[in-house]
């Protein structure tokens, strides 16, 4: 009876552990609401940030940080106005003008927002996706500036995808959180796919489910140290010996019967 109690206790412990691993996942599904489009903003003119640059040195002389700091809210109305003004000053270099604005709303803006990517903050990342995806709609409606708008969306979506991949590297269980999966799905809608980190235990489970026995064995064997291989061998021998003893007992029990 004692052995049965012991085995039952082990099974209860394993079930409790599985239950704990399942319930500790964050299932909360309240996501931030998407921002409303506000009316035209009236920031300082983009001319103030050109710093007397000319066609050949505009990219290097433009004051990206001051431009970003001056625009507390970046919306399509202010952006289109900026494009119009800078194109009127440098009409022969429209592609370069778009590059300026792209650099401002990507690399320069990232310096303001880089704290969002230090720790896993799903609500902030959801808000960022909601902001960045609007540039895709602007691109659809304004083909002339499509390259500018898509570059902005691409930058932020790639940053978020890379960020999520990194967070799953630091804490593998985060990929089971509802908001992580929501973010991953939202990115997938736009064709941004990434593979979250999979732990060795999860690989074993996936290979068990898929019945990849040869890969399971080979991968486990390749990663095991010499000590682990020796322990595995001893355990294997002990298991075979236990089955042998059980068989002997069973046969002798049948004979006496």
């Amino acid at each position: 009876m004692n052995i049965y109690k012991f085995v039952s206790a082990i099974l209860v412990f394993i079930l409790a552990l599985i239950l704990y691993l399942v319930v500790r996942v964050d299932y909360f599904d309240g996501v931030p609401t998407a921002p409303r489009n506000t009316g035209p903003a009236s920031p300082e003119s983009i001319v103030l940030f050109i710093n007397g640059a000319n066609d050949s040195n505009l990219v290097s002389k433009f004051s990206y940080e001051k431009y970003i700091q001056n625009r507390s809210e970046i919306n399509i109305a202010s952006l289109k106005n900026d494009i119009k003004v800078i194109d009127s000053i440098f009409p022969l270099n429209r592609l370069q003008n778009k590059r300026i604005l792209s650099n401002a709303l990507t690399d320069s803006l990232f310096k303001e927002k880089k704290n969002l990517f230090k720790d896993y903050q799903p609500d902030e990342l959801i808000s960022l996706i909601q902001w960045a995806e609007q540039f895709g709609y602007y691109a659809n409606m304004d083909p002339e500036n499509e390259i500018l708008f898509l570059s902005i969306r691409d930058f932020w979506f790639s940053k978020i995808a890379n960020g999520l991949a990194t967070f799953s590297l630091d804490e593998s269980s985060v990929k089971y959180d509802f908001k992580f999966r929501y973010l991953k799905t939202r990115l997938s809608e736009y064709g941004y796919h990434f593979g979250p980190r999979v732990t060795s235990l999860e690989k074993v489970i996936y290979n068990l489910i898929d019945s990849n026995w040869s890969h399971l064995f080979e991968a486990s064997w390749n990663q095991a140290s010499d000590l682990q291989k020796a322990l595995f061998f001893i355990l294997f021998i002990v298991t075979i010996y236990a089955y042998y003893l059980l068989l002997i007992k069973l046969l002798s029990f049948r004979k006496t019967k």
């Binding site: 778009k98 590059r99 792209s102 650099n103 990507t106 690399d107 390259i147 500018l148 898509l150 570059s151 902005i152 691409d154 930058f155 979506f157 790639s158 995808a161 890379n162 991949a165 990115l187 736009y190 064709g191 941004y192 796919h193 990434f194 593979g195 690989k203 996936y206 290979n207 898929d210 040869s214 890969h215 080979e218 390749n222 990663q223």
Partner: protein, 291 residues
């Protein structure tokens, strides 16, 4: 009777064309022991542009699988080998997608510009392949009007320009680990200690300036760093290649697909020329063929 002879000869002719024959002056496959390791190599000379590359990155927008695409494309081709290409987002080939930026014949497959991979590989519609280091920030592309442009793929504006170029030129592009570039190792000494069988694509120039592509399979388990160092030494000493243009990693994890033909109508049956994963589970394919 005449009809029967005609039909039989057509069947024989079609079988011959499927027999995968190629000139041994351009393609050689060997298993070579060297300094305690065994290397299986397929040496392909790009002289006269007879050896070409095709990459199937993923299922196409119609949902046609890589296997079906390969089957219909390869009917009139002399295949030298196929191998798994870059890494995938999952191990299940039916739902997996290429990890990192990927464009297949001008169509975007994965928009995600990953910071995990330092190499970008472009398979040209003409059958060539080039690789570039993203750290260098100077990828050269030739536009449709034959003008040359240098782009930094780390800059999202330049990436948008690059995507337009790839769409116009039907280019195939993927990201992967760049292990060796312009005769310098790109693998850090503190890289992953995980050991596994390693398969690399090595591109180098011989003393006559002829470009060679080698698919090298290091069958024993090695870390990525050790395998790179060993393969570099092997290529330099046993193939007399001093100028190694680049080395990229080919996936031998979840989708270890590999098959090599012997050029006489048969397949190399040695274990060093076979992958562990069945062809049906391939999520992408790097294919070399002979014309």
């Amino acid at each position: 009777m005449k009809v029967l002879i005609f039909v039989t000869s057509m069947i024989v002719a079609s079988n011959l064309s499927m027999a995968q024959t190629f000139d041994s002056r351009y393609v050689q496959s060997q298993i070579i022991p060297y300094e305690g390791e065994t290397y299986s190599i397929v040496d392909m000379s790009r002289k006269d542009n007879r050896v070409k590359v095709k990459y199937f990155a993923a299922k196409d927008y119609n949902g046609t699988s890589v296997q079906e695409r390969f089957a219909s494309w390869s009917r009139s081709k002399n295949i030298i080998l196929y191998s798994s290409g870059t890494y995938m987002t999952k191990c299940d080939a039916s739902i997996a997608l290429p990890d990192g930026l990927c464009i297949d014949t001008g169509e975007m497959v994965n928009n995600e510009f990953s910071n995990k991979f330092g190499g970008i590989v472009i398979v040209q519609a003409t059958g060539g392949v080039v690789a570039s280091s993203l750290k260098e920030r100077n990828l050269n592309i030739v536009m449709s009007d034959n003008t040359s442009k240098t782009v930094d793929l780390n800059n999202s504006f330049d990436r948008s320009v690059f995507y337009s170029w790839a769409e116009q030129m039907d280019a195939t592009v993927f990201q992967t680990h760049l292990l060796y570039y312009k005769n310098q190792s790109m693998v850090f000494s503190n890289s992953s200690p995980e050991k596994a069988k390693r398969r690399f694509l090595v591109v180098g120039k011989d003393e006559d300036g002829v470009v060679h592509h080698y698919v090298v399979y290091l069958y024993a388990d090695n870390t990525l760093k050790d395998a790179t160092d060993k393969v570099v030494k092997f290529i330099k000493n046993r193939r007399d290649i001093e100028d190694i243009v680049f080395i990229i990693n080919l996936d031998t994890g979840c989708q270890d697909v590999y098959k090599v033909w012997n050029g006489k109508g048969g397949v190399r049956s040695e274990v060093e020329y076979k992958g562990k994963t069945p062809f049906d589970n391939a999520a992408n394919l790097l294919v070399y063929y002979f014309e």
